[in-house]
Symmetry: C2
Subunit: 201 residues, 2 copies
């Protein structure tokens, strides 16, 4: 298994000795998830922090009328989990599935607690990771209250630049909170107005 991507990800925030790298990587489990297969279903307990090496995962809920609402996409180099369930070890509300054939590394909550004891600087790593995720989520709460669909789409392009042409329109619409038909109009208006607006930002 090639751990270079996850070690680079960790090295963005903390320095590990080669011994500490070994402790860490020995706790990871590799898993393949085929397109459309689930990593986690609603009402299950989320056992792991999931790091995406290849492919793309997403987390979402399904409302009482059957509509899907996407919380997060995770392309390579991203972490994903049902944080509520992972932290509390109680059944969660999120589904996590693969939008493409994917390969992930799993760090179980139990191994993670062990890791905090053996390599305490991982407390720092996961604190920083969680802080960054919190900042992004808080911004999304504010965006949902104050932005138009067009502005939300522009932000999506900035936040997930690698996913715009890669994901089905339906998925992006479900993240922004509009119908696919409405997103079509938003995109048309956006690209007509000149992509330079986006590139210049």
């Amino acid at each position: 298994m090639d751990y270079s991507l996850i070690l680079k990800n960790v090295a963005k925030h903390i320095h590990l000795t080669s011994g500490e790298q070994e402790v860490f990587t020995s706790m990871l489990k590799e898993k393949e998830i085929k397109r459309k297969a689930f990593y986690l279903k609603e009402n299950e307990i989320c056992p792991d922090s999931v790091f995406v090496c290849r492919g793309c995962l997403r987390s979402y809920t399904v409302d009482t009328e059957g509509f899907e609402h996407v919380l997060q996409f995770a392309p390579p180099d991203w972490w994903i989990a049902d944080m509520y369930s992972l932290i509390s070890q109680k059944p969660g509300t999120l589904n996590i599935d693969a939008l493409e054939d994917s390969v992930v590394l799993l760090l179980s909550r139990k191994e993670q607690e062990q890791l905090f004891i053996q390599v305490p600087s991982f407390e720092r790593f996961f604190r920083i990771l969680t802080e960054k995720s919190l900042v992004a989520n808080r911004q999304r709460v504010l965006d949902s209250l104050s932005l138009t669909a067009q502005e939300k789409f522009e932000l999506f392009c900035q936040h997930y630049p690698t996913l715009i042409d890669r994901l089905p329109q339906k998925q992006i619409a479900s993240y922004i909170g509009v119908t696919p038909e409405f997103l079509s109009k938003v995109k048309a208006a956006y690209f007509k107005s000149g992509e330079t607006t986006y590139k210049d930002r």
Copy 2:
């Protein structure tokens, strides 16, 4: 200064020796914030993590049309900050002001970094705090995509039970993302349907 509330808050997640408690409390600065006074304005750099001892603070943005959108309320025993600005030490987008005469304890980012060195278990404390905040914010993103105004109001009652009768209706409306007039109707329908629904949940 009485540090009992903040020490109890910390003790929920980590154990401190009396020496460590002293290191921590020696870093805190007390501040009074009068009703309607600002702790932080948009475009300023957020210098501190703010712990509320008395009163109530809120964080919010103002959109281009002048409408306020509330991200968070902080009654006593809650922490509040512009996390983006605090972490990056760049100018933020949030305003933080007091809805009532308030007393807070401030832990500056600089002192916090020092604290992580002197009492490393605080990495754990702030990781857990950030995780919990992240879970709440993720849920709010999903709620904003999938819930009705009535359901959002019910969740507000669960999340901030001490604030329902204490805050002006305008503030709650601005958190839920509806007009005060619409919130009036939602509340009337909610209380007419019997508060037992809420108590039974």
